[in-house]
Symmetry: C2
Subunit: 131 residues, 2 copies
Amino acid sequence: MTQQQQTRMTKQRMVILEELRNVHSHPTADEVYGMVRQRLPRISLGTVYRNLDLLAESGDILKLESAGSQKRFDGNVTPHQHVRCTQCGRVGDVMEPVRLPDITGARAPGFIILSGRIEFEGVCEACASKN
Amino acid sequence: MTQQQQTRMTKQRMVILEELRNVHSHPTADEVYGMVRQRLPRISLGTVYRNLDLLAESGDILKLESAGSQKRFDGNVTPHQHVRCTQCGRVGDVMEPVRLPDITGARAPGFIILSGRIEFEGVCEACASKN
DNA sequence: TCATAAACAGTAACCATTACCAATAAACAA
DNA sequence: TTGTTTATTGGTAATGGTTACTGTTTATGA
C-alpha cells in the first residue's frame, strides 16, 4: 500500500535542468546556483542541491564525484569520458573515447566488481598558461 | 639562495607510515587517526592530516581521491587498481589488473591529457550480505 | 476552486579538512 | 654531550561544501 511519491516539475527544477543542459562546463553546485540565480534570483542554495540530487537519481543528469572535493554535474547523459584538471578540478569531455577493455577477468578479494570506467587526468588550458 | 626545507622523521610520521603499510584497508584519515592513537595516544588529528599529505607528496603513500565524501590512503605504492563499494565507500585492491589501452588518441578540447586510469565500482561483502 | 502534500526559502547544523600558534623536539654543529 | 635552529607538534578555531530543519508556498489532481 506504499503510496508512490509524486514528483512535481517546479520552475526551479526545470530551470536547473535547462541551465545544465545549455552548458558544457560540468559546473559545481555553487556554479549552478550562480547560473540559475540569473533567472530565479530568489532561489536558495539548498534547493539547488536538493534538485541536483533528485535529477541525478532520476537519471536526467550525471553527478561526477571526486573524494574530498566539490561534486560536479553534467547535463549530458550520453556515455562519454571525462578529464579532470589536477590543479583546479575543472572537468572536460573526452572526444574520441578510449574503449574500456573487457573487465570480466578483474578480481578483488572481498568485492563484487560491477563496472569499470576510464578516468583521465590532465591540466586545463587556464592552469597550463598560469603554470 | 632559497634554503632547501628539511623534513624530519618524527615519531608521529613514522608510526603513520608503518600503520598504513601494515594494513590493506585503504583507511580514511580518521581511521588512520584511530589506528595510530593506539600507539601514540596524544597525537592530534591535524598531525595525521598533515603527515598524510606530506607522505603522499613524497610518494611514500597514495592518496585516493576517487568518489566518496572522504579521501582514502594506501601504503602500497606499487601500481595496482582499486574497486570502490558504491554503498559504503570502502576500497579494495584489484588482483589481476586490466591493462589500460593506449590513451594517446584521447582528445579533450581545452585540456592536456596526462594520464588515464581504470576505476572499478562494485559492492563489498559486508554490504552485499547486508543488502 | 479546493485540499493535499511535495517543494520551497531561509537558516542552522554537520562533517571533513585546513589554518593558526605557542610549545616541543629532530637534526646538526660545536 | 650541549646548544641552537627551526620543522613539527597538540590543541583548537576557522573554513567550505553539503545536508537537515521548519514554517510557508505552490504544483497537482479531485
